[in-house]
């Protein structure tokens, strides 16, 4: 009996809890329209039929892949000597390899720059609640490049290796996102977002890029 009375009492009293004012229907509608237009503009600056081709993620993927192939090719070329070349040319190549940043590092620096831009965009979108279903593909491409770099001499440097491993983990998580943003999706996003922060991935990416730029600038190689 007392429990029933308490429930009745609670229901009556709780009506005053955070009592909503009249719904600002028109104002919110204008806000929704403005926000949708802004997000569409950010996400799809081009016309629909050009989306896939002109997507920055696709362009990055192609760019990174090309840079990596060229970089690794140059690396093998300079690292193993020139088949059929003269001794003088080989010595010259060896000298150059010793004095200039290796092509692997150059490719790694390029790649880290792309990852930093990608993760920054991802964090901004995830925190704003923008659907991130279009990011899994680019994350997969960046992940492949990261793994190639992990298997390359670029990862001989311990700091670079640790950074690449952390980048690999975060990109793998993003690549596995399915695009549905129910509560589980939100939690996944938050977990990835926290992971990026806790591992200071963006800060370390920026530091690594600055260091690479310093090496390149100091030696005049890039």
């Amino acid at each position: 009996m007392t429990e029933e009375r308490f429930q009745e009492f609670l229901r009556a009293e709780a009506q005053r809890y955070n009592e909503p004012p009249e719904t600002p229907t028109d104002e919110m509608w204008r806000g929704i329209q403005a926000e949708r237009a802004a997000r569409d503009g950010r996400r799809w600056p081009q016309r629909w039929h050009h989306r896939a081709v002109r997507s920055p993620w696709v362009r990055w993927g192609v760019g990174i892949a090309a840079a990596l192939v060229v970089g690794i090719g140059i690396g093998r070329f300079t690292g193993q000597g020139m088949p059929g070349g003269t001794q003088m040319a080989a010595d010259s190549a060896q000298l150059e390899a010793e004095s200039a940043p290796s092509p692997y590092r150059w490719v790694a620096a390029e790649h880290l720059g792309q990852v930093e831009t990608f993760l920054t965009g991802f964090q901004v979108d995830a925190r704003a609640g923008v659907p991130v279903r279009y990011t899994a593909g680019p994350a997969q491409q960046l992940l492949s490049t990261t793994r190639l770099l992990l298997d390359s001499p670029a990862s001989e440097d311990a700091q670079m290796r640790t950074l690449l491993e952390d980048v690999e983990l975060v990109l793998a998580q993003i690549a596995q996102l399915q695009g549905g943003q129910g509560e589980a999706g939100e939690e996944e996003l938050e977990l990835i977002d926290d992971n990026i922060d806790q591992r200071s991935v963006l800060l370390r990416l920026q530091t690594a890029m600055t260091a690479e730029a310093g090496v390149a600038g100091g030696q005049g190689a890039l």
């Binding site: 809890y17 929704i32 129910g182």
Partner: protein, 180 residues
């Protein structure tokens, strides 16, 4: 125009259908957001974000549940996630307020029932609070709550029961109000 036709028109990009869908559901979404947020700006933000997602994902609506249920399940997700994000910020504000009041000698008046109840509801974990607000304040059924929060019917009932027990404990000094 029935619900299926409305959804089909929204999917086709019909702006008037979008507005009709919005008008049909905005009140309940905003009311729930406001009850949970206790703040107009935040409630607007949650309600707007809900409809942005609704229009963005209308292609995923398969009609297995009522449109209103689907919309409000998005709303509850937006609200709960949004509240989690502002929680840390609010905690800092509370800490500052406590620090300020600790220095003063002014004696606080005893809180009245409304204030005490408000604080007690605020202190509930957000998922309990959501169930309590939906059921006891906004009049949703357990069936609706379980569908919208993606939980079992029994879980909804259990959470409401726990929420009420906590509130009863917090309001023990006002027991005369409901015992008489």
């Amino acid at each position: 125009m029935d619900e299926q036709q409305l959804v089909a028109r929204v999917r086709a990009g019909d702006a008037r259908a979008e507005r009709a869908l919005y008008e049909e559901h905005v009140d309940r979404v905003y009311r729930l957001a406001y009850r949970m947020a206790g703040d107009d700006d935040l409630a607007r933000e949650f309600a707007q974000e809900t409809f942005i997602r609704v229009f963005d994902r209308i292609g995923q609506f398969r009609g297995e549940a009522a449109l209103g249920t689907w919309i409000r399940s998005i709303a509850t997700s937006v609200v709960l996630n949004g509240l989690r994000k502002v929680k840390r910020f609010r905690q800092r504000e509370v800490d500052l307020e406590i620090a300020r009041s600790a220095g003063g000698s002014q004696r606080q008046a005893e809180p009245d029932l409304k204030e005490k109840l408000g604080r007690a509801i605020d202190a509930l974990p957000n998922k309990y609070r959501m169930v309590f607000v939906m059921h006891d304040v906004e009049g949703y059924t357990h069936q609706e709550i379980s569908e919208q929060l993606g939980m079992q019917l029994g879980t909804s009932k259990a959470q409401l029961s726990r929420a009420r027990a906590r509130l009863r404990e917090s309001l023990a000094e006002f027991a005369g109000e409901w015992a008489s």
